[in-house]
């Protein structure tokens, strides 16, 4: 009996080996730091012969100022347009030649460079990533061409009524903090950033002490660190970037804004100020988001879409940001819908939560949804790298990822009710509507 158990155990271990990954847990994440301040998180996962190599910089639109709005996102684009040792476009050419692909994204809080490649491309990728952290060329001709690309990306939003309304409502709700403008930036800034300003911004925020590298996939940790030390150790530490000190003043009454333009159907968006992702109220707000907006049994979907049939769909939720941001409730109204009635009906539903609270069934639902959403990205090496990065930069430390579900499970129905009362109240609200030109209002 014992022997056969032993046999089974060996097979069990072999099976785990065949699966190729140690459990995705705090203990299995290796943490390293170079002398220049560059932090590295490693998670070995040998399921597929690929590596997800993510570089996160602590810079996003919250670090910008008027005149330089959108510049964080612009630098994200320029990172592919020439560094010290690699000319414009070479990063992509060499990476693709070696079987790699990449993308990048910029948010309010961070900029991420996401590389996916087979193991044989590792050293070249580490070398190229380090080279562009060291410095960019900002070739004037290339810079102008890329400005055109960004302007085209900006126009994509201008041609999308919901994006246009979101930008306007955000700028109305947030007056002082840099979350006032969107990540893409204002068109006039896009068209007038100066090369020197862009280069100075890069030097401030792309220093190794302002970055975190996260690697997940098929590699050996010690070899990975050898390569990272070889290519990054010589990059000098930078002066720490200035803190974002502006605090949004409290809102003391409802605000409204309206757009009129050619459209087949109107748009509706209500936003409320909410605290940062690290605030103790955040898990309750996140569960409230599910109860109000996720799935066809959610309160607002059921009332606005299924029953009153005032909207085609509802969406939104709580922003997960370093500084206090907004809770969004977006409804796509049916053509001809009375937008006042839509808003009134939405308010009624929020009041029901404020006065009557939420049910145990709704809590079960929201926690189940949170768990599924938590596990789902962990199916891929890219998802693991991304979640670690978000947690490290926005949640105040990657360790917090592993206690997140516990924080959610500890939320009580009373806390969800209190969060709704405290934040989703009329004095904290900004409402925006887009009305088809020539419409009734």
């Amino acid at each position: 009996m014992k022997r056969s158990f032993h046999c089974m155990l060996v097979l069990f271990l072999l099976a785990v080996g065949a699966l190729g990954a140690a459990e995705f847990s705090r203990e299995n994440i290796a943490v390293r730091q170079l002398d220049n301040g560059l932090k590295v998180l490693l998670y070995e996962d040998h399921d597929i012969p690929n590596i997800a190599y993510y570089t996160f910089f602590r810079v996003g639109s919250r670090n910008e100022r008027p005149g330089l709005t959108g510049v964080s996102h612009f630098i994200e684009h320029m990172m592919f347009n020439g560094s010290a040792a690699f000319g414009p476009g070479e990063f992509d050419r060499i990476m693709e030649f070696n079987g790699g692909a990449n993308n990048a994204y910029t948010s309010e809080d961070l900029t991420a460079y996401t590389d996916w490649f087979p193991g044989n491309a590792l050293e070249k990728m580490v070398q190229m990533e380090a080279d562009r952290m060291r410095g960019l060329q900002f070739d004037p001709k290339v810079l102008e061409s890329e400005r055109g690309v960004i302007a085209s990306e900006r126009r994509l939003g201008d041609n999308d009524n919901d994006s246009l309304l979101e930008e306007t409502v955000r700028a109305t709700a947030i007056m002082a903090h840099p979350y006032h403008w969107g990540v893409i930036g204002w068109m006039s800034d896009i068209l007038s950033w100066k090369r020197d300003e862009i280069a100075a911004y890069f030097r401030t925020y792309y220093a190794p002490n302002n970055a975190v590298i996260i690697v997940s996939g098929d590699f050996a940790s010690e070899r990975m660190m050898e390569l990272i030390r070889k290519y990054y150790a010589g990059i000098p530490r930078g002066t720490p970037p200035p803190a974002v000190s502006t605090i949004e003043p409290p809102q003391i009454g409802p605000r409204r804004v309206q757009l009129r333009k050619a459209a087949q159907i109107p748009s509706f968006l209500a936003v409320y100020h909410v605290p940062a992702v690290t605030d103790p109220d955040f898990p309750a707000l996140s569960l409230l988001e599910t109860i109000l907006l996720r799935g066809e049994s959610s309160r607002l979907y059921r009332r606005l879409v299924s029953e009153a049939q005032l909207a085609i769909n509802v969406s939104g939720g709580v922003g997960q940001t370093i500084d206090p941001f907004l809770f969004y409730i977006q409804a796509k109204p049916r053509p001809g819908t009375d937008l006042d009635l839509l808003e009134k009906t939405m308010e009624e539903e929020l009041n029901k939560v404020i006065t009557g609270g939420v049910t145990p069934l709704e809590m079960e639902k929201a926690i189940n949804a949170a768990r599924t959403h938590f596990y789902s990205p962990l199916q891929t090496i890219a998802g693991k790298a991304d979640m670690l990065g978000e947690a490290e930069l926005v949640y105040g430390g990657f360790e917090n990822l592993f206690t997140l579900m516990d924080r959610f499970a500890a939320v009580t129905p009373a806390q969800v009710q209190e969060a709704c009362r405290r934040y989703l109240n009329p004095d904290n609200k900004t409402v925006g509507t887009l009305v088809p030109d020539g419409g009734a209002r």
């Binding site: 089974m8 097979l11 069990f12 099976a15 785990v16 065949a18 699966l19 399921d47 597929i48 690929n50 476009g89 050419r93 693709e96 030649f97 070696n98 079987g99 790699g100 692909a101 990449n102 996916w116 490649f117 087979p118 061409s145 400005r147 055109g148 690309v149 960004i150 302007a151 085209s152 990306e153 126009r155 994509l156 041609n159 999308d160 050619a262 087949q264 159907i265 996720r294 799935g295 066809e296 049994s297 059921r302 879409v305 299924s306 049939q309 085609i312 049916r334 053509p335 069934l361 079960e364 189940n368 949804a369 768990r371 599924t372 959403h373 596990y375 789902s376 199916q379 891929t380 890219a382």
Partner: protein, 458 residues
């Protein structure tokens, strides 16, 4: 917990190690009602995904635009034993998303849940599939919601251009039937047509169910016998699934959609492509990667990287059982659309005349091979791959063969693929933009029919 896990892991070991490289051979069995079940065990996370594919119930087999997809959506809007609210409540309670929709050749239902909730998810899916209520009230609501949503599509030119292109390219061919429906087709649709489509076209005999994740085979078998296994065969003959020949594209067929408030113009250019699993697919994949399938492609390099005309430009190969299309698409501000199209056609001409280089072909091969493994990494992507491969009759070693052939693709074959597929004289071109600003720029590319975006239909 560990004890229950052990048998699964052993099975993974035995089935996983001896199988093909990219996609492990699944366990396969056929239910009494004819449905084929494919199971792949993967115990890394406490999750299970499924995808059910029902051949003959796609939009290519519907009488009017939007019928198949509306039927699919209404499956989730109430059954004989559950109201629409109860279905929604139960799905949300399990914390799952279950999707139901039509593709052209089949209807698909898919979902993913924590392992502990999978039995309830599958029971619910079976109830929706076998005993939908199709009440007149839910039908009317969903139909109206879809009519309204067409306005939303027309407000977004990037979405609208795809709909107009599909309709214009395929015309009255079944692949021209739009999943979204049109204002007119939806207005005319009745709940009886939905019921009839469900009865005739949603059938278990040819259906394929793929399940991947942490679930024991015995548990699944038991589960199937009380859920989807109870879906009865029908006495009626199965619907015909052979499609008419694909449209012949002769000359330049062009359409301009006037959207007076658009500040960018969006185009799609298309011509015949290849059927799913074609012997020419490996070299065509290499060709498409080089022309418009990746960031450094010819198209993206010229239009975005060198000239800054657009945020993105791409080409793609879309395939069905009997044929396919090759498309090129991008967008730019109104006053540049003529320049953008001229460059696009110059690149197509260059591709046909001079072709790619040996080095480029090597780079594309590496790229495809390097990027392929992550495409089968998630449970959802595996259920998709298993069910697709069985549907198209390609065998589970298909991806190994495909990648082996990609690895061997040589320059002459890749260039031959470009010559065969790049349209120069015979094409369909659809542009959405502000007609007054772009009409003149479009003259060199063909004679354009014109439509207002506000007019009914696509």
């Amino acid at each position: 917990m560990k004890r229950c896990l052990l048998p699964f892991l052993l099975l993974v070991l035995f089935t996983g190690l001896g199988a093909s490289g990219y996609l492990p051979e699944p366990q396969r069995f056929v239910l009494d009602n004819g449905m084929t079940v494919l199971l792949h065990l993967d115990s890394e996370l406490p999750l299970v995904s499924f995808r059910l594919l029902i051949p003959g119930a796609g939009s290519a087999y519907e009488k009017a635009d939007g019928l198949a997809d509306l039927t699919a959506q209404l499956l989730l809007k109430g059954t004989r034993t559950r109201s629409a609210n109860q279905v929604a409540e139960e799905l949300d309670r399990l914390g799952v998303t279950m999707r139901c929709g039509s593709q052209e050749e089949f209807l698909e239902m898919s979902g993913s849940s924590l392992s502990e909730n999978f039995s309830r998810l599958l029971a619910l899916a079976a109830d929706c599939l076998i005993g939908p209520a199709f009440t007149p009230e839910e039908f009317a609501k969903e139909r109206q919601r879809r009519i309204d949503a067409i306005g939303e599509i027309k407000d977004e030119p990037s979405q609208a251009v795809r709909q107009y292109f599909r309709k214009f390219y395929f015309g009255s061919h079944p692949l021209g039937s739009l999943k979204s429906g049109t204002e007119t087709s939806l207005q005319r649709m009745t709940v009886d047509e939905v019921r009839d489509f469900h009865r005739r076209n949603l059938r278990p005999e040819r259906a394929i169910l793929a399940v991947c994740g942490r679930i024991a085979p015995k548990e699944l078998e038991k589960l199937l016998s009380t859920t989807i296994g109870r879906w009865p065969r029908s006495e009626k003959p199965l619907p015909e699934t052979t499609l008419p020949p694909f449209p012949v594209v002769a000359g330049r067929t062009c359409l301009l959609i006037d959207k007076p408030d658009a500040s960018q113009a969006y185009f799609i250019l298309g011509a015949p492509g290849l059927p799913y699993g074609s012997a020419s697919s490996p070299q065509a994949e290499v060709m498409n990667t080089l022309f418009g399938g990746r960031f450094t492609s010819w198209l993206n390099s010229e239009l975005r990287i060198k000239r800054g005309l657009t945020y993105g430009a791409r080409s793609s190969l879309q395939s069905w059982r009997q044929g396919g299309i090759f498309t090129v698409s991008s967008y730019t501000k109104n006053d540049k659309i003529g320049e953008m199209l001229a460059i696009t056609f110059e690149l197509l001409a260059k591709g046909r005349k001079q072709g790619f280089s040996v080095l480029e072909v090597e780079s594309a091969r590496n790229y495809i091979l390097g990027q392929f493994p992550p495409s089968l990494e998630s449970l959802g992507s595996k259920t998709r791959a298993y069910s697709d491969l069985l549907f198209y009759g390609l065998g589970f070693r298909y991806y190994d063969d495909l990648m082996a052939k990609v690895a061997q693709a040589q320059l002459p074959a890749v260039n031959a693929s470009a010559s065969a597929l790049f349209p120069l004289e015979n094409y369909v071109l659809v542009v959405v933009g502000k007609a007054d600003d772009i009409r003149k720029q479009l003259e060199p590319f063909g004679r354009f029919a014109e439509k207002k975006i506000g007019a009914a239909g696509f």
